[in-house]
């Protein structure tokens, strides 16, 4: 039995080769090269100077804080909104296809188009501000764009659909009899949600939080188009870009992107630790 398994394993192993090649070429090599660049100076000496420069440059170090300030709240909002939405739509509902369609549109349009649209629609002379003024909610145009809010709104439009669709898949995969069983044992809706559904959603929440956070933390186009890239929305990706393509110092830029990766990894590890703390059981019960 084991011999047969072994044989089939060695027989199928070469099938992994194309994927492996891609992984090496598109991920491992660039990453290793970037790490190497970040640890060397322009003249080729190995040193930590690039990192030392970043952490001692107040203007660059500040980008970490700026990016976190933008990425963290919108990730919490995206995932936090996606949970109740997914919960209410878990058994399907009327017009679900239409709702899903409108959620997917922002993903397909791409960042630039959304940004351009927002600039016109939410700009000082845009419809939104005109409406708000007609309704006398504001006296003069409210600034939705060219500030942190603009970037956050754009990240919400793009991040929420991902979080929602992912969680919807997760929740609708939970056996509906679990809810009924909980109810029959005396739990009301609230108790059933917190004791049964939420813990079972935790793996999905964790993953969609991680993806959303990484997407938001590496924000670049919206921060340039909808924010103030020289000041309040000078995110870490902009700092890296400026070092690479304005000052042509790829070593310094690489160090910044390594710092970026490290922060993302730290947040992901933290979230996954929370996940395994919350949810210890297996993801499904066998023999359905």
């Amino acid at each position: 039995m084991d011999a047969v398994k072994g044989a089939s394993r060695s027989g199928t192993l070469p099938l992994l080769l194309p994927a492996l090649v891609f992984l090496v070429l598109l991920f491992l090599y660039p990453f290793a090269y970037g790490l190497f660049l970040s640890l060397t100076t322009a003249t080729g000496e190995v040193s930590l100077a690039n990192y030392a420069r970043f952490f001692s440059d107040a203007r660059d170090l500040h980008t970490v804080w700026v990016t976190l300030q933008i990425a963290m709240p919108i990730t919490f909002i995206n995932v936090g909104l996606a949970v109740p939405f997914a919960y209410y739509m878990r058994h399907g509902m009327r017009g679900e296809k239409l709702i899903t369609f409108f959620l997917i549109v922002p993903i397909t349009l791409g960042t630039v188009l959304i940004s351009e649209g927002m600039l016109t629609f939410m700009g000082p002379a845009g419809w939104l501000n005109q409406l708000l003024m007609v309704l006398r909610i504001v006296k003069e145009p409210f600034r939705f764009t060219h500030n942190v809010l603009g970037v956050v709104i754009s990240l919400g439009l793009q991040g929420f659909p991902y979080a929602f669709l992912m969680l919807l898949g997760y929740v609708s995969g939970i056996n509906p009899d679990l809810e009924r069983a909980s109810q029959m044992l005396g739990a009301n809706r609230w108790q059933t949600f917190w004791k049964i559904l939420f813990p079972l959603m935790v793996p999905g929440i964790a993953i969609s939080f991680c993806l959303n956070f990484v997407m938001a933390f590496s924000v670049f186009p919206s921060a340039v188009l909808l924010g103030q890239p020289s000041g309040p929305t000078r995110v870490i990706a902009i700092a890296a870009y400026q070092w690479a393509f304005e000052k042509f110092n790829f070593n310094a830029a690489s160090a910044i992107s390594m710092v970026m990766a490290a922060i993302e990894l730290a947040v992901i590890s933290f979230v996954l630790a929370w996940r395994s703390n919350m949810y210890k059981g297996a993801s499904m019960v066998g023999k359905g």
Binding site: A181, M184, G186, I196, L200, G281
Partner: protein
């Protein structure tokens, strides 16, 4: 647990749009009784069960526990407050909780003291023979073990009514029999009022105090296992209880004989004599008389094992040609064409079960004791109702 004498379901109806899933369902459950809802898939048995729990809202009707109305479509006690326990077909164990936490779930919601919870969970697990499993997760257990956890999770709360929705249908044949014995023993011991839903007549016969046979949402018959088994109310119930040979017959004559009726029948040219133990005043006597008067047809029902092979001593001697023999160990299931039925194509077919060895194509002499033939109004059998024609 609140004490009670009986639960009554009165004229309960459930419609899904145009379709009536449960139709005018009335039944009383006495405390401690085990009642089975039996019927083929789509007969409304699970819907009826879910209506009683409150998980599916009823369209009309009432449910009472003694003189307390728990549901009349307007005022209803929600499922979580009815103190009913339900075991689901797929067990519905909480995968993220241990066996202990699964069983303790309902107790924790009721804010019972920690020490009492531990004691009661322990007792419940002992009752279903799962000592030592408390720390396991459902995914680490077999189907049979999971089923026991589901049962323990209900009985630990001492429910007023325990509802089991095809609890054994996901288990293999051997385990099914073992767990059936255990369920029976558990019921004997706890005497908790139970509704058991199944499509398996063997399970129903083995477990029930009373059986409720359902078809298309309507109750066909309510009775003890013996009553339903030997005196089915109609052809559908008979078919479900293992009767076969639903031949269309005309009534030639009938006469009174020792408190029973002896009827001479014509089954596509083959004469049959049936002895019907219907007491005076039985409405079926009128059915027979009217069929004879108007020349309308009735249908027979004869168990395959009641057809005797090789002897003509007990009446209705017939001849047939075996067309299909299915070996089943102790007996063989034989399908045969009756010789002499008109028209010849398709002739009458007899299903019989015999311990003697039969070859396909063999000519058999058979006899059917007149007392073993039942007569019904010409409705459909379960198989025909399901669109299945042999």
């Amino acid at each position: 647990m609140k004490d009670f004498k009986k639960i009554s379901v009165r004229r309960m109806t459930k419609r899904f749009g145009e379709k009536t899933a449960v139709d005018d369902f009335s039944l009383e459950f006495c405390k401690g009784e085990l009642v089975t809802f039996l019927g083929p898939s789509g007969c409304g048995k699970s819907t009826a069960l879910n209506c009683i729990t409150g998980l599916i809202p009823i369209t009309s009707g009432e449910i009472w526990i003694d003189d307390e109305c728990i549901d009349n479509t307007i005022d209803k006690i929600p499922p979580e407050k009815r103190e009913f326990g339900m075991v689901f077909q797929n067990y519905a164990l909480f995968p993220h909780l241990t066996v202990f936490e699964n069983v303790a779930f309902g107790l924790r919601l009721r804010r019972i003291r920690r020490a009492d919870i531990a004691r009661r969970v322990d007792t419940a697990l002992r009752l279903v023979h799962l000592e030592g499993y408390a720390a396991k997760y459902p995914a680490q257990m077999s189907g049979g073990e999971q089923q026991r956890v589901a049962i323990a999770r209900c009985i630990v709360l001492e429910p007023r009514l325990l509802l089991l929705d095809e609890p054994l249908s996901n288990l293999d044949a051997k385990l099914r029999v073992e767990l059936r014995y255990e369920l029976k023993a558990l019921h004997e011991r706890l005497k908790v009022t139970t509704i058991y839903v199944t499509h398996d007549q063997t399970e129903a016969l083995a477990l029930s105090d009373r059986i409720v046979v359902l078809r298309l949402g309507r109750i066909q018959q309510v009775g003890t296992p013996a009553e339903v088994f030997s005196d089915p109310a109609n052809l559908f119930v008979a078919d479900f209880m293992g009767f076969k040979n639903a031949w269309t017959v005309k009534v030639e004559s009938q006469r009174e004989m020792d408190g029973a009726i002896e009827a001479r029948l014509d089954a596509q040219g083959i004469p049959l004599t049936a002895r019907l133990a219907w007491p005076r005043g039985d409405p079926r006597r009128e059915l027979l008389a009217s069929a004879q008067r108007k020349g309308t047809v009735l249908r027979t029902a004869i168990r395959p094992e009641d057809v005797e092979v090789g002897t003509a001593a007990n009446g209705n001697p017939l001849a047939c040609l075996a067309t299909l023999v299915e070996y089943q160990g102790q007996v063989s299931q034989v399908s045969a064409d009756l010789v002499g039925s008109e028209p010849a194509e398709p002739g009458l077919r007899v299903d019989l079960r015999t311990a003697s060895r039969v070859e396909e194509g063999e000519r058999l002499a058979i006899s059917i004791p007149p007392g073993k033939i039942l007569l019904f109004a010409p409705t459909e059998t379960a198989a025909e109702a399901a669109g299945w024609t042999p």
